[in-house]
Amino acid sequence: MSAAAELERRVAQLDAELGDTSAEEAFSWVVGLAVDEINGSLTPEAADAIVRRSSVLATLRRVDPTLVDGPVRTDSQLWIAAAKPPHLPIRFQEPSRDHLVEPRDAGALITTKPFEVGLYTSTATEGPQTPSGMWLTYLRDHGGSSGGSFPYPWHVWSIVPKQPVTVFEVTNAVTWVDLVRTFPSIHGGLLYPDWVAIAQDWDAVHMTAAAVAATHGLRMCTNAGTVAAPFWGVESTLWLRWCFQQPRLISTIT
């Protein structure tokens, strides 16, 4: 099956999940289970054309258009700290400047989504003080009482930038490819984002739900080469440096 056909199938799966479930739940269920890279590649324009027809994205737009099309709502960002599973070192439970590792201070970052670098937030969908959003929905499927990598308790923090910030908005496959082509890093014949270079120009990268739907597990072919497949999973923002007011703990979920 071609990459385009696989993506069409995923969009159909997403839309089939709508009905008795919310768009956020449908997205988490279908994309969360898409853990394998899809064979082949397609152009970003083709990926965006397929995803544009998604009913799930249309429904998410009604919940909050910024989830799908950006720009990131900087007053409604939640960072959630889960407890650590036994095989991992202790995780910090409170966001702080001291705990944030900037890309320049990390090791090699040959990845489309760096681990242990920066700070990942997701947009609250039920008001900035209410634990909600696509990442929390994902955690409910993949952690907590269901086992996995995200044991309870979950500490939900509201973090708000203290000054205007520069955010690269990845709103579809085309802008994902733009990001990688503007800040390229080539490894193994594939193009990856150069996160150190990105951090020199931008405070954060916002990956919208439309971008995730169009790129998750998919290689994109471009004139400059093939872009490695990203696996962002849900709408999220990677903050590449500390630029926040004092974080506020809004909930602990056990």
Partner: protein, 166 residues
Amino acid sequence: MNHRSIRYVGAALGALVLVLSGLTSSASANPSTPPTEDGKRVILRVTAQPPANARAAAITCELAAHNPHKSTHVSGTINVTATWTCSAPVTRLTVTARLWRNVSTLVNQGYNETTGNRRAQANAAGGCTTGLYDGTTAGTVYYPPGYTPATMTGYDQGPAVNISCP
């Protein structure tokens, strides 16, 4: 009893339940289960019929252990997921996910259950160690009152995947 024999007893029990219920299983404990036409592995599928003279439809549920994989959200972690997916909400779903390395080492397991839902998911995760990984799942579906059968227990084993770790 070692882990491996536990696994195959589990598989046998799952198959036995399905046979006794007169329903067919399209899955087995054989990791070489042939793929379907769309390239996806066949998974366990069970159907219950509604009460006679009821206007409700039959409910089909699928139990699957998915591919073990490196976590895309947590460094140094291997995950496996197991899911029930039903065509309509059922009274209760229980599901256990188990992650195995090199056939016989149980890395971890997770359990979950839902009520009044048509889906349930369990997860198992462990530290990344190079090896051959697979996931297994056992689960029970409790159909709404009046459905036949009232309950079904199944077992599924996902594909084995070689995973390399730094």
